[in-house]
């Protein structure tokens, strides 16, 4: 990944731009800056202005650099950008790097309690010094208070600089700390401290700032992992098993919190009962083992993990595939290989997920592009897993999963009932002439399923070893093949049931762009900025690929395939499945670990249209 040119994707100089700008806050982790970040995001969001926040945090708990990027875009371009109109440079360790990311004509806010190293100044940047540490030291007694309140004071400065409604911000603080009066006082005081200092010393607001557009009607700020957890509650999952791993941890932690909220009922005995069971397993093998066992016994069950966990789950994924046990696995992808960068994003588990496990194995994948799709696709994942009696992997990523995204409100149809597929109840089983676990397939290759504990006639024993229609062990080629051929047919049949790909054809476009997941916004922004007749767009939402994907590729002279990994994994899968030649699918890759920007997409497409 080349460093992004500061001009691409944004206007070159910072004029008086209302509701179109980006700021970045550089901090040290563990010092309480997160609340400030949220305060800003929330306020802007509530003014009805499209906004996004990207949290770039280290794989460490305290003391290392952390950044928060806020992009405000009335035109709806809320993909990550890499050049900033205002840098809030609160971390000395990264100052030299941070200053380079300010757009020409932009601003840098720093703490002038200490002098700035003059070698770090830039001619084309306006430096705004505020003696934040000194102000806080004067106002607050303890070191801890000073560290925490400096963040709020900084927020106060930004409220003034960006034209945010200070009363609303103040009201938010009041709401947040209503039960802790001392903390509330401190917060309010710190906010004023920063705010008033800024108003006194600077021309507020800056040329770029916000102006209210309305209320965020029908929109919410939510992260993907929360959305997944909500979906698991709504889809009726009762068993969750997991092993902590960044950036997937909050999926199951949120599921637990939501279940505690919605699934605690008083039992017949008067005690509170919990209509769910979450097991923090000893490792990822056990986590998936538990899910397989629970699903086999009839529950909707799921696990969440990230790359290293996915690697550890390979054997059990193969088991679930071959025994035809539903599994929902949420893979919140991070940068690999190996432990890689646990707090950075990539979409690099695609091949590993599609073909997870040795032998001829293939799985259904879903690729959500934002938290709303995380919600919808997770519900869908449970239905697909049940219907096709097979693992379904929701391929989320750190950007979607852990950052707050502004999306249309999640909706729910109370008429929804789980599609449990061919899972037979006791009565159905008793009515059967015979029960063959892997016999009598429906046209899509699905056979009927019985869980333990029902009726003697349904007795059988599933196994990961070679088996025939009755689930009996076999080494007979024909009996063995009958089952694995059906598995392939079943897998292909699933394509028609996946969420349809998102397609936007430009009239006359000879060239297309194919992408997936969290690349969506950046690619769309890039396409708008691209000169000329424009490119058609297709966002893949799942694997196996529906017919529409094949058609799109066939229709275009060639397609760029934009994805966030080094090895062109989506492109590889497209090659295998569609048979398209390599020169029809041109990889455009971004894999530095930070969410992809329109500038990166543009640069790659614009500079190498020939190949």
């Amino acid at each position: 990944m080349a460093t992004t040119s500061p001009t691409a994707g944004r206007s070159a100089s910072v004029g008086a731009r209302v509701n179109e700008f980006a700021i970045k806050l550089a901090n040290v982790n563990g010092t309480g800056s997160a609340s400030t970040n949220n305060l800003l995001m929330q306020t802007i969001f509530r003014m009805g202005i499209p906004v996004s926040g990207k949290n770039l945090f280290p794989s460490n708990i305290q003391g290392l650099p952390t950044w928060y990027e806020v992009r405000v875009s009335a035109s709806g371009h809320t993909a990550r950008t890499a050049s900033f109109d205002l840098m809030v440079a609160m971390n000395g360790q990264t100052y030299a790097q941070d200053i380079t990311e300010v757009s020409p004509g932009g601003y840098l806010l720093f703490d002038d309690s200490w002098p700035l190293d003059p070698s770090l100044l830039r001619e084309d940047v306006t430096f705004l010094g505020v003696p934040l540490a000194r102000l806080c030291a004067e106002r607050f007694a303890t070191v801890k208070e000073r560290i925490l309140m400096k963040n709020v004071a900084t927020a106060g400065v930004l409220v003034a600089l960006l034209g945010l409604p200070v009363e609303e911000v103040s009201a938010q603080l009041t709401a947040a700390y209503s039960r802790r009066p001392q903390l509330l006082d401190d917060n309010q005081a710190a906010l004023r401290l920063g705010y008033e200092h800024a108003v006194r010393h600077f021309d507020c607001p800056l040329p770029f700032h916000v102006e209210r557009l309305g209320a965020p009607e029908g929109r919410v700020l939510i992260d993907g992992n929360t959305a997944v957890a909500l979906a698991a509650v709504y889809a009726g999952a009762t068993v969750g098993a997991w092993y902590p791993i960044t950036p997937a941890t909050s999926v199951m932690e949120n599921f637990g919190r939501l279940c505690a909220q919605y699934r605690r009922h008083p039992g017949a005995d008067g005690k509170v009962h919990q209509d769910y069971l979450i097991l923090q397993a000893e490792d990822e093998l056990a986590a998936l083992g538990i899910v397989v066992g629970a699903s086999w016994a009839g529950a909707r069950a799921f696990t969440s993990t990230s790359g290293p966990g996915l690697s550890l789950m390979q054997e059990l994924l193969g088991l679930a595939y071959y025994t035809e046990v539903p599994v929902v696995l949420v893979d919140v992808q991070r940068a690999g290989p190996s432990t890689g960068m646990p707090t950075r994003v990539q979409q690099a588990d695609i091949l590993s997920a599609a073909f997870a496990s040795h032998g001829d194995t293939r799985h259904i994948l879903l690729f959500p592009a934002d938290p709303r799709e995380c919600f919808d696709f997770t519900v869908r994942a449970f239905d697909l897993a049940d219907r096709f009696q097979t693992p379904v992997l929701l391929m989320s990523d750190l950007d979607v999963g852990m950052n707050d995204w502004e999306v249309p409100e999640l909706t729910w149809d109370d008429a929804y009932r789980p599609d449990r597929g061919r899972l037979l109840g006791r009565e159905q089983l008793e009515a059967l002439e015979h029960f063959w676990r892997y016999g009598d397939p429906d046209p899509e290759g699905v056979t009927s399923r019985a869980v333990p504990g029902q009726t003697a006639a349904a007795g059988h024993m599933v196994r990961g070893s070679g088996h025939d229609l009755h689930a009996t062990y076999t080494e007979n080629p024909a009996e063995y093949q009958e089952v694995v051929d059906r598995l392939l047919h079943k897998h292909r049949s699933a394509a028609a049931h996946l969420p349809p790909p998102v397609v936007e054809r430009r009239p006359g476009a000879e060239v297309g762009v194919i992408t997936l997941g969290s690349c969506d916004l950046a690619v769309r922004e890039a396409l708008e900025l691209l000169p000329g007749p424009g490119l058609s767009y297709l966002r893949v939402t799942g694997y196996p690929f529906p017919e529409e994907v094949h058609r799109f590729i066939a229709e275009h002279r060639f397609c760029y395939v934009v994805e966030q990994n080094r090895d062109a994994q989506l492109r590889s899968l497209l090659q295998i499945e569609t048979g398209a030649p390599g020169d029809k699918l041109r990889p455009r890759l971004s894999y530095g670990g930070l969410p992809i920007t329109a500038a990166q997409v543009l640069e790659q497409i614009a500079s190498r249209t020939e190949d």
């Binding site: 965020p216 929109r219 919410v220 700020l221 909500l230 509650v233 709504y234 889809a235 009726g236 009762t238 068993v239 039992g267 017949a268 009962h273 919990q274 209509d275 769910y276 069971l277 097991l279 397993a281 000893e282 490792d283 093998l285 056990a286 083992g289 538990i290 899910v291 397989v292 066992g293 629970a294 086999w296 016994a297 009839g298 529950a299 909707r300 069950a301 054997e315 088991l319 409100e409 999640l410 909706t411 729910w412 149809d413 109370d414 009932r417 019985a450 869980v451 333990p452 504990g453 029902q454 003697a456 006639a457 349904a458 007795g459 059988h460 024993m461 599933v462 196994r463 070893s465 062990y473």
Partner: protein, 351 residues
Amino acid sequence: MPSITKPQIPLLPLARNQLGLTLRDYAGTMSTLCAGCGHDSVTAAITEALWGLSFPPEQVAKLSGIGCSSKTPQYFDSAAVGFNSVHGRMAAVASGAAAANRGLVMVGVSGDGDSLSIGLGNLAHAIRRNVRMLYVIANNGVYGLTKGQFSASADVGSRSRRGEPNLLPPVDPMLLGLSLGGTFLARGFSGDKAQLVPILKAGLGHRGFALVDVISPCVQFNDHEGSTKSFRYVREHELQDIEADVIPVRDQIQGEQRPGSVTEVELHDGSHVRFREVPEGYDPRDRAAVGSYLVESARRGEIATGLLYLDEQTVDMHELNLTPDEALWDLPFERLCPGADQLASFQAKLR
């Protein structure tokens, strides 16, 4: 014809249990293990225990990993649904099944390779979770199915068929279980059904994880001189300490009476376990003493058998997690899904 006659599970065709079922109703398909394999006797004992406790055959869930031992769930209770999973992961798969449906009678059969090498971590944590199930290790000191490598329970000095000595100290599942807070630890011998069946019954009645180590000789790879898990060796060195007879409240089952003092313990399901303790004052509820006892008997080259440790105080996974009495998998969807209105109120906070 040259085909090998297979051991059949001995059937008592006339005896009927409380459900009016005979042993045959708890039988599985014919075993494909080697003639004389100890595992077939374990199968027979499990069959008898299930029949004896009058569980509806279809209420049982059978689970296993991979190995000769792990094939055996196929050979009992064909009316049940079973899962022959992958090597070493049965404890995890069983934990999930138990989570989904607490009404199942969970029977897991594993081997020493399956449980003590590749599956050791997962077994350890299933013990900690106190998943309610009977977990049988058919322990032969070797990897039978892969043709006779030493397993982690092979004793030091034990020799393989090729004459190589085992060098590493054995893992004793009882000591291991004890160190991990196991709540039911018992050991039997496949050759002694009179002792084994009551142990299995007690395990099936235990409200928690019942770990039963059954010394089950491999006639193919570990039943020759030099092996410490052979029939002859076990017969000579077995130290029959404590015995447990399960007496379901529905019907008193008389076990063989043997001399010795008796401690009676009530299980959570209302049945009673009686210990006949060989060593004076042996208390299966005294963790520290049980540990010393196991270490000491191993040091004497003896295999302590019987119900070795019992803790009926610790609650099982479901009680711990306050789940309802119903099976989770079967809860009505209406009770699980908060509905559109709740989703709207939840999102009100996200604005």
